[in-house]
């Protein structure tokens, strides 16, 4: 267990910082003793008491310069200076509260703005959607309102007259009750048009997705697709679960799980999306 010398010195210095007063005392005593011994030797060599002391001091050299050197060896001088500077800074901040408030507010706003910009960058550029060619996907808005909804008939019109995009899918979020037989729970779901997964070019992890061909107008057979995360939580990834039927808003349906680890919301769809709010 041989620790390197510099590490040993570092800990000794840390200790030296904590015990600086006792160490100062020790140095003081050592110097006094040194000069006393030298003086005694000088006296026995035949010098007068005053001259002996003078010679002893001369021989010892500049005491204060040596003490400075000693102190800088003893403890972590930069660390001590930093602490002193911090204390001074805090004192000055307390002395001028106006400046402090302005400075803190400026910093807070700058940091906040940076955090917002970064979180947007993070979502859009660093962690884009887990779909192939995510950069070719666009959301369609009405007017300048980012949260605007299209009505379902509008969607049908857009889809049928679309010459700009390969295809257009519709979805809406809704809160429903999900029941696997024992644990009824509330869950956020997406109601989606039949072509939803084809537009996103996604493949299911298990089972099958619904397609546009599954739509037969209002009240056609409903399908439900679970997100990967939700499937893991509820069914603990047991394969047999794909056969389990469960009830959702009174509609029993065969299930399939999609691999969408980023989302914990189950995908759910009744086809067609007859309940789209306008």
């Amino acid at each position: 267990m041989k620790s390197p010398k510099w590490l040993k010195r570092f800990f000794a210095r840390l200790f030296g910082y904590a015990t600086s007063r006792a160490q100062e005392q020790r140095l003081q005593e050592e110097i006094a003793e040194h000069i006393a011994l030298q003086t005694a030797d000088n006296i026995s060599a035949g010098l007068s008491a005053a001259e002996a002391r003078r010679q002893a001091n001369l021989k010892f050299g500049a005491v204060e310069a040596m003490k400075e050197d000693y102190r800088s060896q003893r403890s972590l001088q930069p660390f001590e200076n930093l602490l002193r500077d911090l204390r001074f800074a805090l004192r000055m901040l307390r002395k001028s509260p106006g400046f402090t408030i302005v400075a803190v507010a400026t910093l807070a706003m700058a940091i906040g703005a940076n955090a917002v910009v970064f979180s947007v960058l993070n979502a859009l550029i660093l962690h884009p959607l887990h779909i192939p060619q995510a950069e070719t996907f666009y959301g369609i808005q009405h007017g300048n309102d980012a949260l605007s909804y299209q009505s379902y008939p509008d969607y049908l019109d857009l889809r049928d007259r679309n010459r700009t995009f390969d295809d257009i899918a519709a979805y809406d979020a809704a809160l429903v009750g999900l029941d696997t037989g024992e644990n009824p729970s509330r869950a956020w779901i997406f109601l989606a048009s039949g072509n939803y997964f084809d537009v996103l070019r996604l493949q299911p992890f298990l089972g099958r997705f619904f397609h546009a061909s599954d739509e037969h107008g209002p009240n056609s057979a409903p399908y439900i697709v679970l997100s990967y995360a939700y499937w893991r939580i509820i069914f603990k990834a047991i394969e047999a679960s794909s056969a389990a039927s469960f009830r959702s808003t009174n509609i029993p349906s065969p299930s399939s799980a999609s691999r969408h680890p980023a989302s914990t919301a189950p995908w759910y769809s009744s086809i067609p999306v007859s309940s789209c709010p306008s």
Partner: protein, 115 residues
Amino acid sequence: MKQKTDVPQGTLALMVLKTLDVLGPLHGYGIARRIEQISGDLLAVNQGTLYPVLLKLEQEGVIASEWGASENNRRARFYRLTREGRKQLQVETQDWQQTAAMIERFFAAKAEDLS
């Protein structure tokens, strides 16, 4: 009278170790006096400079110190070599002798030896 020379950097520590090795536990003044005596007064140890060196050596663990009574019965700090210090002294003595021997050979070499 010869001019007294300053102690070269780093050698003071080695001298301290050797002094403690030969004489056993010693206080600061004793160490300073011995170094002066052995060097035949050739070295002017600005005696105060010894103490930072002692502190550094103690922090490195090659010497240790404790309070004791000096000749005139006053409290004095006595320094002694630790086991690690003895080892380091051995290593540094070897290094020093190698260096000295090498320099000596260079000084002894004549032009015809090199051709």
